[in-house]
Symmetry: C2
Subunit: 182 residues, 2 copies
């Protein structure tokens, strides 16, 4: 692969990341313009718009997975769990926009993104278990509902354009529900 091709591919990914983060209904032209390349170049690297969206989404999911793995490995998984939860909610806006664009596009999510999603879920589950062993999260909370809470808090925070203080108070309520009964 030629050097300029690799360069352009990276620039396109970065531009798509930003553009689709801002507005899930953005056009491929927007991506090309921000990346500083012609539209044909975008389509050569990603033959279809859905594939481009998936590539961006996959990247983001993998990044969250790494964060979860690091948190689970930390010396204080209990604290790390809540910190991780807060961080995901705080900057979830763009991730959600992309996932939304994909589902709105009607396309079933492709294999790569699905695999990345599974990996992320597994990492988060590992973090949850570690936090439960550390006694920071009630033992009867299962992965499914904790994950639903995470997604819900994220979507709620971005959908309503929440003030940071309100978001923190909302998280405090959630955390009170997650902590072991005293």
């Amino acid at each position: 692969m030629r050097a300029d091709a690799r360069d352009n591919r990276a620039r396109i990914m970065a531009a798509a990341n930003e553009v689709f983060g801002r507005s899930p209904s953005a056009s491929t032209d927007d991506v090309a313009r921000l990346a500083g390349v012609g539209i044909a170049t975008v389509f050569r690297h990603f033959p279809t718009k859905v594939e481009l969206l998936e590539a961006v989404l996959t990247l983001r999911l993998e990044r969250i997975r790494e964060d979860a793995l690091a948190a689970a490995d930390s010396t204080d998984p209990g604290t790390a769990f809540y910190r991780f939860f807060t961080a995901v909610v705080a900057d979830s806006a763009s991730k959600l926009a992309i996932a939304e664009a994909l589902t709105t596009a009607g396309a079933a999510i492709g294999e790569d993104a699905r695999k990345a999603g599974r990996g992320m879920r597994e990492a988060i589950e590992g973090l949850l278990l570690a936090a439960q062993r550390a006694g920071a999260v009630r033992a009867d909370a299962q992965m499914a509902e904790v994950y639903a809470l995470l997604v819900g808090a994220s979507r709620g925070a971005t959908a309503t354009n929440l003030q940071p203080e309100v978001r923190d108070r909302m998280l405090a309520l959630i955390y009170d529900g997650l902590k072991p009964r005293s």
Copy 2:
């Protein structure tokens, strides 16, 4: 206004309610086809697609408002609060889809829908205050974060296509956070 015109208007509203509930990106043709009228008829009653979406959204917001008012007036506002919360989350899928379609359409939400939203929020706040007076919800929870929780739980439930049992366990966690400290 002629009788057939009134009829068709109602049929269009009902069809739009269902179609946009299923898929926020549905086309006006879809609405017309389900309503059994020509596309021009839809546009005569609602000069623009956004106005049609707003009409449907407004209707739904007003319905939620009435539910909240009824709950606040009940003899046991504490129980009614949690029942109301659960009900909103359970059938929020279509409401959210419509609100999403509106914001995705880039259109700032119009005055009617905004007013309906304010009315709904006020009714929910009344219900929250009643539930707090009844001692069923912790007194330090403010409307803003409770509303954010409601929206988040709704979006989380619909976004992830939650199983009903998981959804109930998620709500149980939230409710544990909302109940007064013992």
